[in-house]
Symmetry: C2
Subunit: 168 residues, 2 copies
């Protein structure tokens, strides 16, 4: 049993954005680089989270992403319900005994119990070790520096050349 | 969120076998034919369910499959725990923030709540509309007839030819 990769990415994005200081913004490039996830995959997730109100995009030169609401007001259940395609745990659509089978009701009851637990926790709870998370995220350098670092990673030859010319 | 196809098939097999009368046996061919599932997929599932004690194989000319234990003594939780590969709902193995992230504990608590519901129900509960299920399964003809029907399905030309020669 697994959640989709989409849900996994959605939670990762919200954790990165939520772990920052007030007024400090995340960028898609930075999130992609830190988690080792393709930027194109993240674009869709970020856009979707924005439309659903979980994220707000600040435009402009110093723009970026921030949470759409306080982390204490976003439940994990809400994120998972939004990001998952559905909760039909088995595909009964082509099963000959579906009309008389007791399984769907039982699986539905179990799924409701699963989601009820997730409804009791917020993004703030997942971020409770915030200082440790910030350390693991690399301390959140100012956005300009992060973009430079990401650009260097993407073009290591250029970065190496710059470093060599500085060394000499 | 979905259970694996393997778990789906395991439950379907146990439902087919469990819906029969005492002393009446299911065959892999019959189960494959009724659900429209490939026989080779089912072989592995049946063998595995046998090794785990959910099924017993009766050998010989009138052999087949029966439940290894009473349907009231087999919980759905037990079947799902056995058939699923695991319950790591997201793959944290490559995630940089795993050491400080609050998500795994929360997902684990939710999964335990999910399984606790499944532990409260037995195969007998899923089979509670047994008469209807038996009807949907085609009334469980004696095994010899079922094998003939399955063989006819596999070679419709031969069956048609036989039917035509009887008609004339």
């Amino acid at each position: 049993m697994q959640l989709t990769r989409y849900t996994d990415y959605a939670i990762r994005v919200l954790l990165h954005v939520g772990a920052r200081d007030e007024g400090s913004l995340s960028s898609i490039s930075e999130i992609a680089s830190i988690y080792g996830i393709s930027k194109s995959h993240l674009m869709k997730v970020v856009q979707d989270l924005g439309q659903a109100g979980f994220l707000t995009t600040v435009r402009g030169r110093n723009g970026g992403l921030k949470l759409g609401r306080d982390a204490r007001a976003i439940t994990i259940g809400e994120i998972v319900r939004h990001a998952e395609q559905g909760f039909d745990l088995v595909d009964c659509s082509s099963c000959i005994i579906a009309p008389a089978c007791g399984l769907p009701n039982i699986l539905n009851e179990a799924t409701q119990a699963f989601l009820a637990v997730l409804d009791r926790y917020t993004l703030a709870d997942v971020l409770s070790r915030r200082a440790d998370l910030r350390g693991l995220f690399g301390g959140f350098q100012p956005l300009a520096k992060t973009i430079k670092r990401v650009a260097e990673k993407a073009e290591p030859d250029v970065a190496d050349a710059e470093r060599t010319s500085t060394d000499t």
